[in-house]
Symmetry: C2
Subunit: 221 residues, 2 copies
DNA sequence: CAGTGATGTTGACACCGGCAACATCGAGGA
DNA sequence: TCCTCGATGTTGCCGGTGTCAACATCACTG
């Protein structure tokens, strides 16, 4: 029985791991520095040798969560096979956008704690346009690429492209927030799934109709 | 100069008022029982004669916020004049839905603190269908009424009605969250306003196309 | 082998939510 | 009129938390 060495040897990583686990279990409120320290077998305050602040630790967890969210989205979109003919490409691009949204919501429901931490420390997306260095771990980048594709295959009118990323993100994010820990948290699985279908179909249908039709009532009054 | 009396006389109301003010300034984190007590000129712990818990006080603030949110929405929708002919009624109903969303977002941006407190303690909406006792202070009730109207005037197909309330709420709530204190918080006013237009137009356009058209890619894969 | 910087520990402080015991005061019955 | 009693407010305290400061340990480097 070797007595525990004075130095941990890998404290920073161990703390992050414990923090991620705690975030999964209890969200931001579960990220208690002293608890994590004890969980890792180290005295309180040791964490401050590796993180200036509790916030710094939270940010680290958020980054891990961001990666997982992006992965969840990509896993979904990558499963859509490419279309054979032009019409198939359109269907594929539309399906990819929907799957992307489903991945987002699935993650939020499967990992509500991480999801909350994530958005407590989400940085301003660097590129709201299409340029700038694209962080491949940023969900926003993934979404933008899918929407560009939707224009390329001719489903979404180029005039309707600006702002589409915010529309999609808003719809899916709102759905996720309302259902994961918000006022709709008690809906049963079937109802929730059907509601998400409606959200995604609503967007898809709208983008299929971007030929200068619906205008008039939506402008500022 | 009369010395302050031992009993406050109206402590509960004063505390709620101070709490609402604090929530406006700093959100949920600003709701510190001891600060509120001092602010009202009373010692800490006096609050516990009127609220069992800090959470009880937060819930009270949330209720005030809920009322203000509903008011903000109604103020907007009420400004849309009724349509003269059937076609005008359609335009009016569509405009009312958009104005409702704008009111929601405006409130979230004007009162980010209250907005956050509100959704930290938002109860599960009692009636997800159309029946049940309708709390006139519940924004969800307002939204449902507008959507029913949209069906009545023939803009939204009855088959597309189920789930529409969740779609609209999701889109607008997500937009509000992302912009009020989320990753899009730094967007300038003009960009933000244009983006909201896009969101509302996207929904309006989709509802105008609910004639059995767009289907195929959005179903579960 | 001394020493030095990185890492971990101990102890303290301020702050917060909440409990318990005590103080004050107004209203209503003797 | 007086006196009790319940509602309201106060003081003091406890446990938990983030964070700072001073000290301890250890691995490496000259």
């Amino acid at each position: 029985m070797t007595t525990a060495p004075y130095h941990h040897g890998n404290l920073r990583a161990a703390l992050v791991e414990a923090a991620v686990a705690a975030a999964r279990e209890s969200g931001p409120d579960g990220l208690v520095v002293r608890h994590l320290a004890r969980r890792v077998g180290v005295s309180h305050n040791a964490a401050y040798r590796h993180f200036s602040d509790r916030d710094a630790l939270v940010a680290e967890v958020a980054e891990v969560g961001m990666g997982e969210l992006t992965t969840a989205m990509r896993r979904r979109t990558d499963r859509v096979p490419p279309g054979a003919d032009p019409e198939g490409e359109v269907l594929a691009a539309r399906a990819r956008l929907s799957e992307c949204g489903r991945g987002y919501v699935d993650f939020a429901l499967a990992e509500p704690g991480l999801f909350r931490v994530l958005f407590a420390a989400y940085p301003s997306p660097p590129s709201l346009g299409t340029d700038g260095t694209k962080d491949p771990d940023d969900p926003f980048v993934v979404l933008n690429a899918l929407l560009d594709d939707l224009v390329r295959v001719g489903h979404l009118a180029p005039e309707a492209r600006p702002g589409a990323e915010i529309t999609c993100w808003s719809a899916v994010h709102g759905f996720a927030v309302l259902h994961s820990e918000g006022p709709l948290r008690e809906l049963d699985e079937a109802t929730r799934s059907a509601a998400l279908d409606v959200v995604l179909e609503t967007i898809d249908r709208s983008y299929g109709a971007t030929t200068g039709a619906g205008r008039g009532a939506a402008g500022p009054g």
